[in-house]
Symmetry: C2
DNA sequence: GTACATTAAATGTTTTAACGTATATTTGCA
DNA sequence: TGCAAATATACGTTAAAACATTTAATGTAC
């Protein structure tokens, strides 16, 4: 469905404005899809993304600061997220020997396993989007360009 | 900055996955920009969007259900948002004469004025994105397509 | 070495959102 | 008419976000 129908707005001031609205709308749509796919696994999107970052580092640990830096949505409280995951035994916390202000966060085997299962589901549900690889590449390029100052 | 640099992830499983991550990242970026532009006016993005819908209807009123339907992010509680705007005297609520379950919501002159001022700012700040009109149109088309089942 | 600034993370507080459910009104129909 | 089902909205509760502050560790200038 085109964005005009989706939000029942016939006209936009400009293509730019339409694209911005469409971006927000599509992101929100994508988020609902992902959240639904993750729900059976008992974690939120943010927690899922955080686990993915940790898997990217594995078997090295990540500091809370690194996590914060790489999260898709800038978050004030990565430390609280880590704590939630720790309570679920999906991550482990260790005092960093090199700098005791830091905390080493490491994904556990259980965390890797959950990521594996949830990943399959998310891929089949949420990422089953209507674009082929070439179009996906185009979209990504336009988004990159969009974030550059005019 | 390309998404790979932005989140310091060198490789993605597929172009599709990269596009999805890029979408979420860009939407979050856009949201920060908009929120910052709106902050001086004391309203949130959601409130801004809701006012825009009301302006679209003006001088006709809108029901809470209509607002909910058209909001960019699916929201359970449009009624609470309306109440917040009412407290700021940016909208008015009236019992709908035709159907007393409904509430007619109408933007006030103060609301229209705020929208005018905030709109200028948001346009100069947030919508100053790195795409020309043709590219914006392409982006919008890809987003529309993305939301269609494969 | 002491004083001062900086950094990493955690915590407290206030606001905002999500989710389910309740209430009131209207509608369709036996 | 009377009653079940549908609809529009509100609300209570719980969870999450935003923002500011605090604590502890480290680095640096003198």
């Amino acid at each position: 469905m085109k964005i005009e129908e989706a939000i029942k707005q016939k006209k936009f001031d400009s293509a730019t404005q339409k694209a911005v609205v469409n971006l927000m709308y599509t992101a929100s749509w994508m988020e609902s899809m992902s959240a639904a796919a993750l729900k059976p696994h008992g974690i939120s999107i943010q927690q899922y993304n955080l686990l993915r970052i940790l898997r990217g580092q594995f078997p090295n640990p990540a500091s809370v600061g690194l996590l914060q830096e790489r999260m898709l949505d800038r978050m004030s409280n990565a430390s609280r997220l880590v704590e939630k995951l720790r309570l679920k035994k999906l991550v482990e916390r260790r005092e960093c020997p090199a700098d005791r202000r830091q905390v080493d966060v490491l994904i556990t085997p259980a965390g890797l396993e959950l990521l594996e299962k949830a990943g399959q589901r998310i891929q089949s549900d949420a990422y089953a989007i209507g674009l082929n690889e070439k179009e996906a590449e185009q979209l990504s390029d336009l988004l990159d360009k969009m974030r550059m100052p005019k």
